[in-house]
Symmetry: D2
Amino acid sequence: MSTRVIVWGEFLQEKSQPEVAAIYPDGMHETIAAALRREPDFTVDTACLGQPEHGMSRERLAATDVLVWWGHRAHAEIPDEIVDRLQGRVLEGMGLIVLHSGHYSKIFTRLMGTSCSLKWRVSGDRERLWNTAPKHPITAGIGDHFDLPAEEMYGEPFDVPAPDEVIFISWFSGGEVFRSGATWQRGRGRVFYFRPGHETHPTYHDANVQRVIANAIRWAGPDATRRPRRSRPAFHG
Amino acid sequence: MSTRVIVWGEFLQEKSQPEVAAIYPDGMHETIAAALRREPDFTVDTACLGQPEHGMSRERLAATDVLVWWGHRAHAEIPDEIVDRLQGRVLEGMGLIVLHSGHYSKIFTRLMGTSCSLKWRVSGDRERLWNTAPKHPITAGIGDHFDLPAEEMYGEPFDVPAPDEVIFISWFSGGEVFRSGATWQRGRGRVFYFRPGHETHPTYHDANVQRVIANAIRWAGPDATRRPRRSRPAFHG
Amino acid sequence: MSTRVIVWGEFLQEKSQPEVAAIYPDGMHETIAAALRREPDFTVDTACLGQPEHGMSRERLAATDVLVWWGHRAHAEIPDEIVDRLQGRVLEGMGLIVLHSGHYSKIFTRLMGTSCSLKWRVSGDRERLWNTAPKHPITAGIGDHFDLPAEEMYGEPFDVPAPDEVIFISWFSGGEVFRSGATWQRGRGRVFYFRPGHETHPTYHDANVQRVIANAIRWAGPDATRRPRRSRPAFHG
Amino acid sequence: MSTRVIVWGEFLQEKSQPEVAAIYPDGMHETIAAALRREPDFTVDTACLGQPEHGMSRERLAATDVLVWWGHRAHAEIPDEIVDRLQGRVLEGMGLIVLHSGHYSKIFTRLMGTSCSLKWRVSGDRERLWNTAPKHPITAGIGDHFDLPAEEMYGEPFDVPAPDEVIFISWFSGGEVFRSGATWQRGRGRVFYFRPGHETHPTYHDANVQRVIANAIRWAGPDATRRPRRSRPAFHG
């Protein structure tokens, strides 16, 4: 059974900023989705700001296992009733992967209960992500670290509740650190925040970043170990 | 320096239900506050639903170190802008002690990000609270357990984020268990949820319950260890 | 690929106490193993105290994914060099399921770093295990609680480090509670402690208990989501 | 009532390596102790390898509230019965502050249950410690970060159980990160690991490092909030 994924993108700066369009001509969500479509166990769709109900209708969400969210400029445009709906689905068990500037999205701050503020600097720093959870499903196939040659800096303190698990800690060439991958359980839903992905850098074309997102979807999706298994008949039991 | 405490009570059922009025003639908040006023290091005030701004003006909150909250019937009557204000103060460092049916208050669900639902039964069960954090400041002076002869039952699952610390687990004579005392850090603020206190039982007259609330206020209040200390002059150093 | 399981049992009281032999004629480990052998994805073997190297040779452990451990009277008879070996394998990634009186085994106290003491009473109490992690792989197929008609009582405080996850909390008819299912990561290995299983009760014949142990083995074993997946060829990547 | 502190130092390299002696002529433990002696609420003593019972007699430990430990070359020389004794005192409530290369001390690995391995490089890297717990007692008086101009590098992964709290994350100029300050509760005792302090650098002369150690002693010592308080007489109770 396939894991049903929606990648949600704001899709604003790709249309208004030529340097973003040059990297993501069809939008960041389509670049992310294209990588995920190569995974045989996923069914991948996309949604954007400005679509009817911003692409988040009740019917669609009911048929979604994991939602991937990238937003930046237009967090305030998502109406509270859609945020209620998203939160309801997470508490019921839908996985949620929040990317980069999505730390300030309404759905993420709603689920965290804190400001989710952080330090930042648009700088083109070199970022090195250290794997602090080498046995975790989210780091499958990832070595002890990987580098992104240029990224926006995000620094501590990151005002979130203590994560259940810290998966990556980033080092920035300018002198900062950040808990760049972290998990939280909310109701029956699993939430993963993953830091990289500033719109002016080709981060979502990076193979390691793509792999982490795919791994996180598997981790947050319907649990394979919970699916019914056929047992041999039990004559003695 | 005194810890400035406000005890907030809905103060509805004490006026409309004679069996509640018999136990708490001046309101539950006044019973709780009277016990706290015997602590030499606290300055204690009360506030109620229906006062101007429900007793939660910006000025008052700015001068409050720890807020104790009991609500039940009228959670929906607290306007969102007051909830924003309360959340802001917690993130800045105000302590928050949420009692009993306050699990469904807007401020608690806001800070948790989950439904905060639980099982319940108005039953007069015997409740035994087991101390699962014997070295924690909140259990100072509390033995390995204490009993309440009759209480409403609250049972697991309790839909909250994994607590930072589980302080008490309750046993109910009807067969349930509940994480009855639990802590969460949110921003710079400390949050403690404490289960007991159904309005038809004299729970806030109980010495152990009073002691736990006082301990929790000290734990959530301005940290004594952070206050400046005078040092001896450092000739060699 | 099959998960390779060893069930280790002390196998002493089954030979010396007729009331234990009546319930577990071939030993508790064989009853546990028989249930696990019905799972199509497991290869199950057993080992006992008194075998060469107590059945825990370097070669065997190297070929084991998950070890299930029941001990009671003879913890002290396991030499420290075998405990070193077990610990080494857990830190490398072998799963470990510790049952009941195994809380005092050398390998469990070694991995915890604490005394692992608890309250207890041989009583035939009714035990009700509440599921406090309804979405966790270990509770797959388990409802919100299940009962054991008669068990030894274990009560809090349980002197272990704060668990990563509390999976079950037990209620006992005599008035106690206990964190009966709990997880800890140690190195690359996952550890699950599961309380039930006093030797004079038929607990390991119980279908829910068997299911929890099987689920825990899947959770602690090689992670299915980490196995290599074949991807469609990536023309655009 | 004073908090009774012992600072334990190996005191070997200060005698055999001139470059260490130049920085710490009386030993690192005496430099650390001298700073702590300026705190009016501490009574500070020191102990060293090679003293009778390595300075850790039963009587002395019974009269110690917090033990600070620096070791490097001679971990293996501490006999297991002294480690048992130290562990016993921590479980009873003695605080333990483990410094730098003490991550491999017998008492720390005993309490952790893991290998406590990490990456390292003797390099004179610049180290920047980021404060990830701005409200924690251990960071009182510490800003959002502080720098050490030259230190040995320690890098992730650090093979310890998930800390209860991560207090500092270090950035190293060579490209690594490390959880440099972390806490764990073990029994009734509080444990703090603090990374800085390579013997060839003047780290324990640094005012921020001294302050963190003093703060950690207060946090790990007898809890001020648990001391009996005199209450006003309760006429109405």
